[in-house]
Symmetry: C2
Subunit: 198 residues, 2 copies
């Protein structure tokens, strides 16, 4: 997260994207740094048979899609506004200038990437493990601890549909529904008026 003032100083523009708009697509060249001002943006892939995989969901003050700015690769996924969203975007060249002239911001950026890598490392090993209930608990625990910074049992109200949980874990809706019920029975999570608490 980079301060809005600084981004505006370097030529950042705030743009509004209605719900459902695509900000960029898998395979495109990265031209901008993006940071959410309001609303929510998801990054996702669709595989051959149309099944969605959600790489991440980004809310206020979070940045996304930076790796290709550094790594000289194409976008590995699409970005789409989950709700009407304001996003500040800054041209790659100006973004790199900003980092060069503000080492502290650069370090913060590196930390952000490192955290994301940590999350992906967990997810990739967990998803490979094949156990639906584990996959679900892991992602919920990650969101609870690292995104929402919550402690204590059932303090985290999961604001995701079963379908979104499925797309984050690579499972199917029905499997998520059955697994969450089973997990509730085991006391691992609570379900109150259809919402999952962890």
């Amino acid at each position: 997260m980079i301060s809005l003032d600084l981004l505006l100083d370097f030529g950042g523009k705030i743009i509004t994207y209605p719900k459902g708009t695509q900000l960029f697509r898998e395979g495109e060249t990265a031209l901008n740094y993006y940071q959410v001002v309001s609303g929510e943006v998801k990054m996702n892939n669709y595989n051959l048979d149309g099944k969605e995989f959600i790489q991440g969901i980004f809310a206020s003050s979070q940045s996304f899609g930076e790796p290709p700015l550094f790594a000289d690769v194409k976008y590995p996924a699409n970005a789409e506004a989950l709700s009407d969203s304001e996003v500040i975007q800054l041209h790659k060249s100006q973004f790199l200038e900003l980092l060069a002239s503000h080492p502290d911001v650069h370090l913060k950026m590196t930390i952000t990437l490192a955290k994301r890598l940590f999350y992906k490392a967990i997810m990739v090993s967990e998803i490979s493990s094949q156990e639906p209930e584990h996959r679900i608990l892991r992602i919920l625990d990650y969101l609870k601890k690292h995104v929402h910074k919550l402690e204590g049992p059932f303090t985290f109200k999961v604001d995701l549909t079963r379908q979104q949980i499925a797309d984050l874990t690579g499972l199917r809706v029905e499997t998520v529904i059955r697994a969450t019920k089973s997990l509730e029975k085991k006391g691992e999570l609570k379900i109150k008026s259809r919402k999952v608490y962890r």
Copy 2:
């Protein structure tokens, strides 16, 4: 990759690890920057039923295990020497000093993390896709293009056992054996004296 001279200047030490040695374990606090001088190191997880998942394999001049140095989290995986290996390691504090005083090195580091993130994003979506043959092709293509920088059909001799491919993709050996044979039949890869070429 940071130059050896620079690492030594900042107090880096070259340490030899015999094949099979663990450099660090999942859950431990990160204390050092690591870079392979010679040999090979893998990072891996073992899940509950003992199945291995290989996060990555790092060879000469590649660094590994940096994210926790930045992100203030525990290691998400173990590191183990695949062959007798020399590794240069540098204390976290000195590593951070090095980056602070050498912005170009810091940028290179950021690029490394960004590339790894790109790889993980591909793998996590691909692994979630469930199709063994796709998983295998994707990881081979990644290794071919981004690690070994090779072009043209069947120029990449895969120096991995079927078991290692299985551990990288989250599949089982038998499945990898059957899938590679099927892929050979389809002309997607070649098998010469048990070695896979892509």
